[in-house]
Symmetry: C3
Subunit: 136 residues, 3 copies
């Protein structure tokens, strides 16, 4: 069994921002030389998500508006600690923390439209994503 | 380390439909002869989910009604591309993309009520689910 | 490849209760002697979640209130079976079933604030969480 562990860094211009990271993950899988296995991709923060969906700008705007409806602005108790990012924790919960992706014949075993996104909900500061490749 | 990769196909009668795939996954795990490991199960599409919950028809109706509340009909920007399936992408987001399941002693290591479902939100056409078994 | 499989048990005092299980998972990873790999953590029940987020009591209260808004009390069809826990299945769906966590240098490869929680939505009875460690 082989593994490869990499960290990729983000510092988004906007507090809420969606970044397509498919190419970066493909490169790490290629570098690992693993032919059959899995790759785990997750933020190392609790106010961001990694998820798989469409690289379509309209859908990304829909996500942002929809998350604001599901996570309304209010006086969250978490914000009594001096934070103002309770909404970021809840939006990350809807979008999920991590993805596990199959590697077959040395490549991400993806359907036509699957793309990997980093979704930032409390950006404008340095953040990390962990990529762990495992297989043979 | 051994792996087995299989694809299973769906073409649901209804646009939104939930299909119990537990038996199919059990058969693939059995075929793999892997005794200790994991199995990853995910749609290769971005308008469908694989999730684990109850094989109870009332709950499945509850899911469908609840998702309609969480994802109301409206003029989503994604639909300006000519698509009419923005709701399918959002419902899939709530239900999740994938499940990773432990294999112990050659079987899915499940509690009494755990069942694996394929949830289709934009069906009536050919779709695929990836099953990747990994272990020893 | 090595694996270690453990089950941990819960019987929460309250029907809805969140329990920090990070230390228990760290101990199991340490016991496995696996240096590079993954650990899968999931409830073996369909009315509970394992998720990763903040060990902050205000946020946990926010989660509970928010889930009640997203899953309103109503006459769910599942409850016609004699159950009264349809809400528990839906809350578990929002919070997710499982987490897969990277192990690097023999430890959970976590950012500063990542903590693993067991979220019970139908407690006051014996429940199990599966922990599967896999790697080398």
């Amino acid at each position: 069994m082989k593994t490869l562990t990499k960290y990729i860094y983000f510092n988004t211009k906007n507090r809420i921002e969606f970044v397509n990271i498919t190419n970066q993950i493909e490169e790490i899988v290629s570098e690992s030389k693993i032919k059959e296995g899995i790759v785990l991709v997750n933020p190392m923060h609790i106010t961001a998500s990694v998820y798989i969906n469409d690289a379509e700008s309209g859908l990304i705007e829909d996500y942002k508006e929809w998350l604001k409806k599901l996570v309304p602005e209010k006086d969250y108790k978490h914000n009594l600690t001096g934070e103002d990012n309770a909404f970021s924790h809840l939006m990350r919960t809807i979008m999920g923390r991590e993805v596990t992706i199959a590697i077959t014949n040395g490549k991400l075993d993806f359907g036509t439209w699957e793309q990997i996104y980093y979704a930032e909900f409390d950006g404008q500061r340095k953040k990390r994503v962990l990529v762990k490749v495992l297989g043979e």
